[in-house]
């Protein structure tokens, strides 16, 4: 069994200062990803999924943000508090990240080939000619047609899907062990989305990477993830294998999320939007943060429920007094 996680996030809390007070955008988040595994981090905008990724990369804006506590363990080494110079070697080396906006994530005034080479030359000691050869190899690896001819082209000569492939090539340049993908397909057409997802899945197993896939799209989750962590207002509220999550959504929020996806085989009138709104970061309730919108609320929800395993499935955990059986313990 290859059980040692490639990346473990332990009790991570990231805060932002708003009008002089610190508010947690990510609270006590823990998860681990192993090689060859894809963990999807799901939630709506502002739930803390991107902040989690930035915390792992050590890219939380220093001016008004900080990692208050917790560890990010990569191969036994805690990345939190690592000096910037060492962190620069980790980024783009052992951990790589791809972003939502392929249209703007490449420098418009530099040829794409140069941009891939730059990553290689920065992180490895390859000679220019070797770096060029490797960059070309990467470009054809991410299935850019006639890669050699397009090597000197500029980003504006590429379509969105192609640019995302270039971004993926840059991320893969130094054989990362962890790939953080922050909504990499959100800005793409559906057909291109499917191609990019297939490419990512293929490369993940080829490189034996662990992938943390951040998305709000449950359809994408179903097609790419092995396990899913659902985030709500800075907390992980449910974590399960992808099959278990879709078969038996346990937290009321997950359940509501699944029934608010439009489906071809259901009447549009069956769509159920979730009533109410996410509480603002400046006035988070003490207890369960979903309580105000939750149809199952009980008195106990005024205190924060723990993330506990379900009685019949140790890998399926949820943060709910009513559904996860935590209520019975008290």
């Amino acid at each position: 069994m290859n059980s040692a996680p490639a990346l473990a996030v332990e009790a991570l809390t990231t805060e932002f200062r708003i009008e002089g007070r610190w508010h947690a955008a990510v609270r006590d988040v823990s998860f681990a990803v192993t090689r060859n595994e894809t963990l999807a981090l799901v939630g709506e905008s502002g739930c803390g999924k991107s902040i989690t990724a930035l915390s792992i990369m050590g890219l939380v804006p220093k001016a008004n943000g900080r990692i208050k506590s917790g560890r990010v363990v990569l191969d036994g080494r805690d990345l939190v508090g690592l000096p910037e110079a060492q962190m620069e070697k980790v980024r783009g080396g052992a951990i790589a990240m791809i972003f939502q906006e392929p249209m703007t994530s490449l420098n418009p005034v530099l040829p794409v080939g140069f941009q891939i080479q730059e990553t290689l030359r920065y992180h490895t000691s390859l000679a220019p000619a070797q770096a060029r050869a490797r960059a070309l190899e990467l470009l054809s690896h991410v299935k850019i047609p006639s890669a050699a001819r397009r090597f000197g082209d500029y980003p504006h000569q590429f379509s969105g899907g192609m640019r995302q492939r270039v971004m993926i090539a840059m991320a893969l340049a130094c054989n990362p062990r962890i790939l953080l993908a922050d909504e990499p397909t959100t800005a793409l057409d559906v057909t291109i989305q499917a191609q990019v997802l297939a490419l990512l899945a293929e490369l993940k197993s080829e490189y034996g990477m662990a992938m943390l896939f951040i998305t709000h799209n449950l359809g994408v989750v179903a097609s790419i993830a092995d396990r899913v962590a659902v985030m709500y207002a800075g907390d992980i509220i449910e974590m399960a294998s992808v099959d278990a999550l879709f078969a038996r959504p346990t937290h009321p929020y997950t359940e509501a999320l699944l029934s608010s996806i439009p489906r071809v085989d259901r009447h549009a009138g069956d769509l159920k939007p979730i009533a109410g709104q996410v509480p603002p970061i400046t006035s988070m309730p003490q207890g369960c943060r979903y309580a105000d919108r939750c149809p199952l609320r009980v008195a106990q929800c005024a205190t924060m429920p723990p993330l506990v395993a379900l009685a019949d499935d140790a890998t399926h955990r949820a943060r709910c007094w009513v559904r996860a059986g935590g209520a019975a313990l008290q």
Binding site: M57, A85, E88, G92, N107, V109, M170, A171
Partner: protein, 265 residues
């Protein structure tokens, strides 16, 4: 237009560079018999009050003018550009201090700064360059800082950080190429200003000391005899006019090509 301007600038630059081979006479050789002589076949642009050949002096004078102005602008680009990118990228207190200092420099009119430096330190080529550099640094810092402020927020900078690039690398490899267009347009226009400033300082007697030929100095000398021998002032003025015209055309052309919205008008 830009090509024509470039040709004008190239013409002057090449003739200045090749002055030792192109000039028909020694620019310092005096000939009392030819004092204030009108243009002839042997001395096509006439002779000045010392009987020196005006054509040769214009060719040699161009060397001084172009050397002083190009060096000053190049130094200003490097220092001003670096300060502007740093200030824009780092922001905060550093930005305020640097740009505050630039505002102080900007508040000196070019000529006043020139007077100040040359009067205090003496009229040497080095001090002329220093004086012009001091006034040119601030505009280059401003022109480099403005785009840096927007570019540093762009996604590709964030992506670069995620690839582990250091701040220095992001500034040099990713921000600089995005800023350089604006800087080059400014450089062409400032080169013209620098040539004018050098000529102005020489004209009021604060330039390179005579008998070394400079365009501004020749105009001043020619002024003394402007009624009898107007060509003494006119020919060096035409030389300045050609360079400034050419540089402005190049600057406009560069701006048009670097701004795709203007390209098809």
């Amino acid at each position: 237009m830009a090509t024509f301007g470039g040709a004008l600038v190239a013409l002057v630059a090449i003739s200045a560079l090749l002055a030792p081979w192109l000039s028909p006479h020694d620019p310092l050789e005096q000939n009392v018999l030819l004092r204030l002589a009108a243009p002839t076949a042997e001395f096509p642009l006439g002779n000045d009050s010392f009987g020196r050949d005006v054509l040769s002096r214009i060719l040699w004078g161009g060397r001084v003018s172009l050397y002083v102005s190009t060096s000053a602008v190049l130094i200003a680009i490097v220092i001003g550009g670096a300060l502007g990118i740093l200030a824009g990228y780092i922001g905060g207190l550093f930005d305020r201090v640097v740009m505050g200092a630039m505002d102080v420099l900007l508040s000196f009119p070019t000529l006043v700064m020139g007077l100040l430096v040359v009067a205090m330190l003496g009229p040497t080529v080095g001090n002329l360059i220093l004086a012009i550099t001091l006034t040119a640094v601030a505009p280059f810092a401003r022109i480099a800082r403005a785009p840096t402020l927007t570019i540093k927020e762009r996604d590709f900078v964030e992506a670069g950080r995620a690839l582990g690039f250091s701040n220095l690398r992001i500034m040099v490899v990713h921000i600089l190429p995005n800023v350089i267009d604006d800087v080059l347009v400014m450089a062409a226009l400032w080169l013209a200003t620098a040539i004018r400033t050098e000529a102005s300082l020489s004209f009021i007697g604060l330039g390179v000391r005579p008998p070394t030929a400079t365009w501004g100095g020749m105009i001043r000398e020619g002024f003394e005899n402007i009624l009898d021998s107007p060509w003494l002032a006119i020919f060096p003025s035409i030389a300045i006019l050609i360079v400034m015209l050419g540089l402005n055309m190049v600057g406009d052309g560069l701006r048009d090509t670097s701004d795709p919205r203007l390209r098809h008008e």
